[in-house]
Structure formats: C-alpha cells, structure tokens
C-alpha cells in the first residue's frame, strides 16, 4: 500500500519535458514587424541574428538609401507627368476658346489692318524717296512742284 502511495505521488508531480518550447518569441522574432518597405527590397541578410555587425549595418544603410532614391524618382515622375497633362489640357482649352470666341477674329482684323497700314506707309516712303534711280524728268517735275509750293507759302 505504501508503495502504491509513493507511485501515486510520483505520478502527480509534473515532470518538465526537456524539449518543450517555453516561449516561441524568444527563439523566432519577426524581423519585418516594425518595418515599412513600400515595395523596396532589402537585400541584407536579416537571419544573421539580432545583433548586427558593423558590416551588416552599413549594408542596411545602403539598402535604405537605394530604396529611398527609388521612391524619390517614382514620386518626382508622377508630378511631372501630371504637370504636363495639365499644361496640355490648358493649351487645348485656350485654343478652343480662341477658336470659338470672336477674339480671334478681332485679332485677325487688327493684324490685317496693321499690315495694310505698314504696306501703305512703305509704298508712300518709296514714292517720296528721292534717289538717282528716278528718271530725270520725274526729278525735274518734283523740283518744279517744290518751287511752286515754296512760292505759294
């Protein structure tokens, strides 16, 4: 009986299994837990342990820089494309506005008016310009005309 009691006491005591895993976190940690890579790839070997060597630290820094540069280029390209699209749209709108409104007609009329005036002025200047290319008869007539104007004045 006493032997049975001893055996029962032994059975009631908890025997610790030597291969039991007490805390899973202590062995395996999630290295990406607090990281936000936004699609960037970190080529550094993260399974070498939590204590980073100086060489690995430099590798991490360089990877971060490379990722940042990649992100920067992606961020800058998008606004440029948006800006170009905006300019294109504005130009198109302005052209359509000029085409549909009477402003274009007014400018066209103004341009024709100025062109005609300049042409007339040029012709008058050429007519009034006295040169040895003119026939002597015309020069004589012009001189006589000037004499008459001077006498009348």
């Amino acid at each position: 009986m006493a032997t049975i009691d001893k055996i029962g006491a032994i059975l009631n005591t908890k025997i610790e299994i030597p291969f039991k895993i007490k805390a899973r976190e202590s062995i395996h940690t999630n290295p990406f837990k607090d990281s936000k890579f936004d699609g960037s790839i970190l080529p550094a070997d993260i399974f070498e342990g939590t204590q980073l060597k100086s060489q690995n630290k430099a590798k991490m820094v360089m990877s971060a820089i490379a990722g940042s540069v990649s992100n920067f280029s992606r961020k800058i390209v998008e606004p440029v494309a948006a800006f170009c699209n905006k300019v294109k749209t504005n130009l198109s709108n302005a052209f359509n506005y000029a085409k549909t409104t009477t402003l274009s007609e007014s400018l066209s009329d103004l341009g024709n008016y100025i062109s005609q005036k300049v042409s007339t002025m040029r012709k008058n200047a050429e007519m009034n310009k006295i040169s040895d290319k003119m026939p002597v008869v015309d020069l004589e007539a012009a001189w006589i005309n000037e004499n008459k104007l001077m006498e009348a004045a």
Binding site: I130, S131, D132, V136, V137, L139, E146, N147
Partner: protein, 117 residues
C-alpha cells in the same frame, strides 16, 4: 534750304543721265536762292564732265562768275578739290583764250592760277 530740293540736287549729282545737267542748270543755277545756286554749282563741278563744268566756268552770273561771293568761292573750292583736273583745266584754257567777256576771262585766269599753286 528746302530739304526735298536738296535731295533732288543730290540725286541729280549722281545721276548717270546727262539730262540731269540741263535740269541743274535750268532750275538750280537760275534760282533766286543763294543756297540752291551754291549747291547746284558744286553738284555740277562734282560731275566733272565737259558739259557740267562749262556751265559754272563760262556763263556770266553762274558758278565762279556768280554775283554772290559765297557761291563763287564755294564753286572754286569744289574745283580745287577735284582729283582729276584735266577737263577743268582744258575749259579754263579755252575760256581765258576765247571768251568774249573780260570778267569771265579774268575769273577763269584766277582759278587757273589757284590750281597751279
């Protein structure tokens, strides 16, 4: 002087047509304006051809024989400034030897003396 007339005289000065000499003589040397006569006489000398030089040398009251000393002296200065004086010397010789007016002959002789200096 009227600017347009000045331009006309300049145009006639360089004009290739010999008819320009006739216009300069008729309208320029006969003008009542001293400035026009002076400019016309200089223009005729600048042409440096027989017909134009003859106008300012042998005609009484024109060119070197003008009643205005300014016009006469200006014409003489222009003659003195000519590079080729062959034709003007030839006309002066003929004028000194053959012209009927003594005043014209004396004036021509004076100009020839100046050219010889």
């Amino acid at each position: 002087m009227n600017k347009k007339i000045s331009q006309i005289i300049d145009a006639l000065t360089t004009h290739q047509d010999n008819d320009s000499i006739r216009v300069l003589e008729n309208l320029g040397t006969n003008s009542s304006d001293n400035d026009i006569r002076e400019k016309t006489s200089r223009a005729l000398v600048k042409k440096n051809v027989h017909d134009s030089l003859k106008v300012v040398i042998i005609n009484e009251g024109k060119g070197i024989n003008d009643l205005s000393p300014v016009v006469a002296m200006s014409t003489i200065n222009e003659i003195l400034a000519l590079k080729d004086k062959t034709e003007v010397l030839h006309i002066l010789e003929d004028t000194i030897n053959m012209h009927s007016s003594e005043t014209v002959r004396e004036n021509a002789a004076s100009v020839k003396s100046l050219l010889a200096l």
